[in-house]
Subunit: 86 residues, 2 copies
């Protein structure tokens, strides 16, 4: 029998890995022109809710993936506020 959490963790690693280069690139280039603050904020709230949902469903994969992404998207919001052209 396949352990469902293995599928979840593979999914978590892949989708989280696809998001982290954006954080790194924004940090290196300080180019936040392509980032929308309202969009980032909605995304952040959404990911935080996924995290809560993962806790309620006792899904380790969801908690792991969205825990990392909550922090990543918070970093992007911070960069956006810090590096935005006045």
């Amino acid at each position: 029998m396949i352990n469902v959490e293995i599928i979840g963790f593979a999914a978590a690693i892949l989708t989280t890995s696809a998001f982290l280069p954006q954080v790194y690139q924004t940090w290196k280039t300080k180019d936040v022109s392509g980032l929308s603050l309202p969009m980032l904020s909605l995304f952040f709230i959404g990911v935080a809710l996924w995290f809560v949902y993962g806790v309620c469903k006792e899904s380790l994969s969801l908690i792991f993936a969205n825990g990392i992404t909550v922090i990543s998207s918070l970093l992007l919001i911070y960069f956006k506020l810090k590096y935005v052209k006045k």
Copy 2:
């Protein structure tokens, strides 16, 4: 008692909404220079695995959110292949 699926659906709507403008913008501008094909492919596989995970866990929120995002990311891959500068 709070229905957990309401949290899940709120999460699904927020994170899916944050992704759709990217698809729309790419479709309108045909500018795929900022999109990485390997990254999109990893993301697509990750989202497809989340979908399978959602089916295994009988989570309607996960099935709904990742069903839409599987199609969206497949569209982005199609745009990337179609509009890439030769």
